[in-house]
Amino acid sequence: MALLQISEPGMSAAPHQHRLAVGIDLGTTNSLVATVRSGMSTVLQDEHGHSLLPSVVRYLSENEIVVGHEAQAQQSKDPVNTIVSAKRFMGRSLQDIADRAHIPYRFVAGDGVQSMLQIETRAGLKSPVEISAEILKTLKLRAEKALGGELVGAVITVPAYFDDAQRQATKDAARLAGLNVLRLLNEPTAAAVAYGLDNASEGIYVIYDLGGGTFDISILRLSKGVFEVLATNGDSALGGDDFDHRIYCWVLDQVRASQQHFNPLNEEDTRLLLTKARQAKEWLTDNHEAQILCKLSDGSLVDVTLTVDKFLELTQNLVTKTLSPTRKAMRDAGLDIEAINGVVLVGGATRMPHIRHAVENYFKQEPLSNLDPDKVVALGAAIQANVLAGNRSDDELLLLDVTPLSLGLETMGGLVEKVIPRNSTLPIARAQEFTTFKDGQTAMSIHVVQGERELVSDCRSLARFELRGIPPMVAGSARIRVTFQIDADGLLSVSAREQTSGVEANVVVKPSYGLSEDTITGMLQSSFSAAESDKQARALREATVDAERLIEAIQVALTQDGAQLLSQEEQKTIQLQIQALQALNQGKDSHAIHQATEALNHATEAFAARRMDASVKQALAGQDVNTLEL
């Protein structure tokens, strides 16, 4: 447990200004926001003292939206316009949602077969990204009220098993909500940070994270503040919701068997029964049976009793379904069960006793849950946000995370060639060489997929892109080197170069599931006032803030290393550019500020490279003795 920092009277607690940063757990069922205050990670509450914000968004009209408990209370009355579990639809197309007949929404397919689905509400068509953005806006507001200032940024958690499309959708939602994303952090890794730091744990830990709609298993090695993910696996469409659904189907069967005329359920009844099913599931955590009693819209009464034994029977194969990814992760990590020092339970669904028993049986040890399984992810994210924002000077925290899914390319016959294997430590890049098939060919198309299967049709399509501007040559003589980079957020970018001519090929990436840049920009603009002057004011403010941030960062770097790594001449050049930008920043020309900011950044590229070289050398300084020992 960290100690409270109490500063001397008249002294500032921090040597520099404390930057307000938060961790956000954007959950399927509930969302939370947390921050580090006086060295302690704390979940922020709303004005009613609630920590959990139900991830429910209700569209009352075009301009009136309610989020959270108030929306949740109305979900059975207004199921079509009250969206719960929007996270399940992030980065997903209509055909991905297998059980959509049982979900009371009016789904609309996206523009392409693989595009993200939308939901028709009385406020118009809404994408899961926009719905999630409403939840994030509510949490942002809560945080700014509680902390009394504007946020520098947020760490937002995602299931470790989220693919590129789902991660990108989450980042887009944050952007729509006006949040600066410091990092997308995997939920089990966030939980490990909160757990590991709180308990000063060392060794190998398993995080078993069963949330409302997603399941993750991560295996980490904790050592002196380094959290190294050894392997991760999961199922991004398995969670507590599925347990509710099993109960719901069972109730329907019971009612059908007992009534002669059973009218098909309308949307209100479906939502009502799903809610009753969830309540029964929660009740059964501490009780032997649950009564499900409610009146349907046609006046008929539902009154059935679910016993614990029946519940176990109905849901046992869901529990078993979590063990398959668990075994795979253990195998990928190359570990036996005896090597595991502890198993941490995360996510509200792990309160179910048969989950606990299954985990205990598999790992042959009692799982740990001394931190609230609903809060531990947000708490960990806040710790990471605090470090990333630069508030910790003794930053000994280092997270080495992995990519959950293999990245591959489509080859002849619809087969996948793996380029980056799953569980590779991030960031990672791999280059692949391609050549032309025909004489004079100037373009080629490349299909990037994510998944473990051998056939393209069994994997998720991430992007199709075209390489254009290849110089015409004899078939097979062009050498096009395509580099795939996955960054620390787990997001993919692609670049390409023709090797023999040195021509930088033009890469047009068309994300298969995500929103295009134009769509996002459109959403952003419509979310602000349409007045032209407002747009200009916003652009100017953004440009000014960017410029100030860059100048500050460069000045810090110059103070640290300017004298050692730059000549007098070089320092002077940078200083002059800083002064030029500062002068422009007093004016109102956002375009000029933007250009000068880019120019200043460009002018410091060599300095950045030298600083990085120096950091690497510094890291191993005084290591000669060790290498000589060999």
Partner: protein, 174 residues
Amino acid sequence: MSHTAHHFFELLGLPQQFSIDLVVLQRNYRKIQAEVHPDKFVTATPSERLQSMQTATLMNEAYQTLKHPTSRARYLLQLQGIETLEDSNTAMPADFLMTQMEWREAMEDAQHAHDIDALEDLLRTMKASAKALQEEFADTVSGDPQAAAHLVRKLSFIDKVSADVQEIISRLED
């Protein structure tokens, strides 16, 4: 980082040889990542963020290459200008091929019998064979690099069968 000729051993503070101390490798890798990882540069300039991502990526590649014996062996030969040509040069002595066939047969038999224990045994057998080849490589690499390249090709063979066995086990466990 600037693109001067850094090789992976030098980057990670290790002598350029096959036998390395994996504990030192891991410790140095972590020390460097603690300095260069993108998490340390979230509020830095765009130039520094790009440098950080490229350097952290390079360090991950260096670490992974040196951590695994087969890739470390292959890389050592590459530094000497010798390509191991696993894709094109598949000529193997008869006894090695016989062993390969026996392993493949044992794998298929165990797969059909759903015998995970037999597959685990097979993995252990292959691991022991690989270990012997690695020791042979360490003795051969400086004196006879062409023979050493042949050993890398053998190791790649074993890695491939091992990966297939792992894949079958994980499918049988489902």
